[in-house]
Amino acid sequence: MNRCLKFLPVLLVVLVTSCASKKDLSSRLPIEPANEPVASVAIIQEVPVVYTSIPEVASKSTVVILGRVAAPREILNTARVPGEPGKPDPQNYSVGQVYEVIVDEYLLGQGPKTIYVIQHQGMMDTRDGPPTETQIEQLIGNSGVQPLSANVQYLMFLRSSNHIFVGYSQDEIFGGAGHPWLFDASNPDCIRLVDSLENVYHYFPPLEFDDFATLLKTPLLDPAPGEGAVYPTPPAGSMLCPENGEVTPPYP
């Protein structure tokens, strides 16, 4: 990127007396950044939106559906300029793959028979200009997100948005409620999580559909003081699918 190539030195010689207690500061010579004019690569680090129980993710969802993908549609930039819900953000390109989804059943909430679901598939810095198709393809390939399949019945936790996406009305377009939002419901004896974030698998073991449905209707309770807030407990073993092994929390 041009911005990177004309990058200015970022390490300055500044005397900061407040840091005198740190390690050996006797020598504060400037440290020049590596002067290697090669193509730069952007690495992305995120704080994901993570939920730890079905009642919690349900409480953040506008609708919960059983449905199937009819067809993939276009790719949108879903990033918006803050305060301008209809204006795509020129500084970020957030890949939103739109799918047309036929709803088999609304498990929570209600809506039309056909909806549009946006699957987030990566994000990039576009301050130097819009991305090329190749860049978008690379971004999707590197995202670790599994595209939705037409042959699968999914259970989806979906949120509507106050953002405006041209060509879609707000009551028919949804996005995932967070991690997790997508489950493979092809086998009603075993509803399985589909998520790129491996740690959430600790909280959402495979469940029989009836158990899943019961949890969907379970009100979200505030954890007792000192319990559950920082290190939530995984569901009880009795809720697991028969073939599922032991589940442990991701936190110590």
């Binding site: 990177c4 970022v10 500061l25 290697e36 952007a42 680090q45 803050p82 994000m123 920082v230």
Partner: protein, 170 residues
């Protein structure tokens, strides 16, 4: 320092530095954080202060001409609360773009500590570091994937975070 803390999502590049010497990572405010006193500006300022107050070698230093930017974005479909782009040239970090997603703030009504925790976590990535695995036995701000409630309690660098930066920038 105790045992080595494994790094998750190693960016593969670091800010050039000399062992045991303090070094500076400059930053400037993006166009959406120009006004002091706003919620996200305050949160990022807290994050900068808490890292700068820690006994580590990287030090964040304001420079209006810096290429490193701290800003916000608004994305209802990206399931992230913040994001940092780290640009590498070979093994050297050359630029970072640190951002908070205001959308989820509007949905979850972050507390001051939660917003601060998210901001401080992202500022941590500004040192071109990855995450601490969530299974590390002592709570760390740089854990990879935690629920929002975690940031109610952990919103500044913890001992593992300090050790983590220390082992990367000895």
């Amino acid at each position: 320092m105790a045992s080595v803390i494994p790094e998750v999502n190693n960016p593969g590049c670091r800010w050039p530095h000399t062992q045991s010497q303090l070094f500076f990572v400059t930053y400037k405010w993006g166009d959406r954080l120009q006004v002091p006193g706003t919620l996200w500006r305050n949160a990022f300022e807290s994050g900068l202060s808490s890292w700068n107050g820690s006994p580590i070698l990287p030090y964040f230093y304001y420079d209006q001409n810096s290429s490193n930017t701290i800003n916000t974005y608004d994305d209802s479909m990206a399931m992230n609360r913040g994001i940092t782009y780290i640009y590498c040239s070979g093994t050297a970090a050359i630029m970072v773009v640190i951002q908070g997603n205001v959308y989820w703030d509007s949905i979850d009504n972050y507390t001051v500590n939660q917003r601060r925790g998210i901001s401080t976590h992202e500022i941590g990535h500004g040192m071109s570091i990855g995450h601490i695995n969530d299974s590390y036995p002592t709570a760390a701000l740089m854990y990879k994937s935690v629920p929002l409630s975690f940031f109610s309690y952990i919103f500044s660098p913890q001992p593992p975070d300090i050790d983590f930066v220390d082992q990367i920038y000895p």
